[in-house]
Subunit: 500 residues, 2 copies
Amino acid sequence: MARALNQLREQMAEVADLQAASALLDWDHQTYMPPGAAEARAQQMATIDRLAHQQLTSDSIGELLQTAQSEVEGLDLDSNEARLVKVTQRDFDRERRIPSRWVSEFSQATALAHQIWQEARGTSDFSKFEPSLERIVGLRQEYASFFEPYESIYDPLFEAFEPGMKTAQIRAVFAELRPALVDLVQRIAERADRVDDSFLHGKFEDAPQWEFGLEVLQRMGYDFQRGRQDRSAHPFTTSFSNDDVRITTRVEGELLTSALFSSIHEGGHALYEQGVDPQLQRSPLAGGASLSLHESQSRLWENLVGRSRPFWRFFFPELKERFGQLRNVSLEDFYRAVNRVRPSLIRVDADEVTYNLHIMVRFELEQELLEGRVRVKDLPPAWNQKMNEYLGIVPPNDAQGILQDVHWSGGAIGYFPTYTLGNLISVEFYQSALRDCPQIWAEMEQGRFDSLLDWLRQHVHIFGRKFEPLELLRRATGQELSPQPYLSYLHEKFTEIYQL
Amino acid sequence: MARALNQLREQMAEVADLQAASALLDWDHQTYMPPGAAEARAQQMATIDRLAHQQLTSDSIGELLQTAQSEVEGLDLDSNEARLVKVTQRDFDRERRIPSRWVSEFSQATALAHQIWQEARGTSDFSKFEPSLERIVGLRQEYASFFEPYESIYDPLFEAFEPGMKTAQIRAVFAELRPALVDLVQRIAERADRVDDSFLHGKFEDAPQWEFGLEVLQRMGYDFQRGRQDRSAHPFTTSFSNDDVRITTRVEGELLTSALFSSIHEGGHALYEQGVDPQLQRSPLAGGASLSLHESQSRLWENLVGRSRPFWRFFFPELKERFGQLRNVSLEDFYRAVNRVRPSLIRVDADEVTYNLHIMVRFELEQELLEGRVRVKDLPPAWNQKMNEYLGIVPPNDAQGILQDVHWSGGAIGYFPTYTLGNLISVEFYQSALRDCPQIWAEMEQGRFDSLLDWLRQHVHIFGRKFEPLELLRRATGQELSPQPYLSYLHEKFTEIYQL
């Protein structure tokens, strides 16, 4: 009995091993790889990715899936077995449309583009990155073509990140967010003088920032026996199994909290991956349910926890000990400073209110790129124009503009909206957790996160990829996706901070 | 024309990519991997190694080889094309005898054993490591059985490291070396008071050791754009392409020169891999010709260069600047100290004269293990007895005895004799290089190694795996493998140092 299911499991475990090897090649690429190795590495990644794709889409998997379908009939639809077949079928159906040749070309192109992007950003020279991006956009358009007919060319890309969701849903979310956010930003701008964050800017040493970040991660519950933090040009989280989930950060030293919030953000991703049911390992059910679910975790820890009063009640004295510059700063001033709202150039350092406007800029440009309404070479002025339109500022150079994010160099077009969805979902999760465990804030004031992490593990992490993102949201909170809880949270928080 | 050859090349390039991914999984395992990941990593390595083996031994490779044979007929037998077919055929014939099932079991067993060995060594508890070693010896005996009939069970293991060589050749070498070395050790022992190395022992800081090692590597010609040095429990060199050749060392701080000589040793390996003709990359001709050839490079740099007067004429003043403890030590005293001969416990720190006795202990035990004449559980007393017999000392514990080397935990049984062969070959190479380029020593006194490295590149490195080891030795030096040049070198050097 269940012979096909077991064979399916074994074959998919090998796919998982190949994917883990590919993830390690990429982690190494972004952390320790010597620069001369870029071409060889791109070939290695292309080969491994193609092999993983070939195995996943082989006829033998197709046949096993058919037999396994009948083997799981009658089982609880939410059982690991039934869900394994369902999710593998979904992945199989999607990946079968993509030729392995495309996978290998895409893998090689993006591995090469990463280094070029880094150089282009370093010299703020978009023209260096242009041919790589041209190639990637072309490959992504080709990718979309494998899924024709579609409602929007953005759909196939987005759905690969967000199973079961459509571009129209993001558009609806932004339509509701945009006026509310623009209004809030304006009202805050009139009271800008109420918050001062000058003491966060200056020269800050590397080592104490690094150590403070490690301490916060430890207290959050990140397990260093099954993970580690390194440095990279752009912070990221990667996972080679739920026993090896790694994060990176960058320490720049001009903004005191930049490395820290990046560590907390990636730590949120990592807690998710470390919390997946070990029984789901080496299977298509391992890992996060979707990118927006992932971002809901990272943004929850970064903002709802990391930019809250209870968090800093515990950690601010520790931070002060490390940085003499904060000697005369009060907890309240510090809390307000890390929540200062101001249109700015860099997405990852943006406050909670303007953050989604940065996403909107990217979401709109991505659609225009894919639809051919804007050409790659015309991106810098298009970017600057949209920044001006939504945020009222124009980047002085491309490094602080169009070149700031790693995503496109990695081929991740269609990723950005998941940050905004993640913001929305994070509030829904957090409010449910607070309802179920009112002690969360009191614990946090003592530097403990047990109840919060337990709640997230039980309601979100443990399920891995078993459920589609909105299904998981519903099961965890009883609610649908909606911008309203998020907007209420922002209004309440910033009305108080800025006395609006 | 040459269609089969081109297809062969492409398919073997994918095998090379898989092998590179496996090597990265292993490098990471030994450097940065969090401890909790050991089991998942073992599975990943098993899968990748099995896939590489399956691809290499597929029927399709067999068929391509047959056609390619005829395509290269008439070509120069030493051309890259003809040699590619020849070497791939050799690898194919060997690997076809090994079931992929064995490859995956071996890979998993050794990946798990590494961590267990490390713990066992940490607590000096052989019983912890015993079951792992039992398993590995069993797998190695099974490996040998795939090559029956054989003259010695050691042959198939040894030949995988040394194409074209037999155990009988090592025995003959040791039969010649043993009496000469034992005699030399005894004569030196009578004059032990002529060399003092007490100033090399003490407490030495980590950072200046690390930096000094990097400086020496840089001057040797190691290209940090295509490599890097990290830390690991046991130093090693690994290569993911000739554009990414990495070394590791350990800094322990009780013996001033331990980390340094380990860096120079691994640097010698790395120069070899970095110097292989780029045209051979991603092919079975990439990498070193054999382990003894590899050790000839590492031992040449470590001993013939790194323990020579011209080397220290340049570097000793630099070392003195970094370590105040050497203030009153003369260059001559330092030279003699790093060449002090004394039976000791740890192979990697052993002097040039006693070193091969350490190898003999291991070589004999390995044969007895494989032949079933000694059981794994009886290894510690057997080890101690042989140490007493050949070196006149007995380890106080297993960490400094049977557990000191990483090799067996990685399944590398049959590896140790290649160190001794490497010693022999290193002298033959070095003397040829000095004959061709008499300026080598003068350059070295200025911290330059150009002529030596050029000679090695042109006569050894560039050829990769094109030639069998003894064939390469003959081409480079016009000589056969012989212990005599090595023994003469030792006699001359140590007669002078100890005024024998």
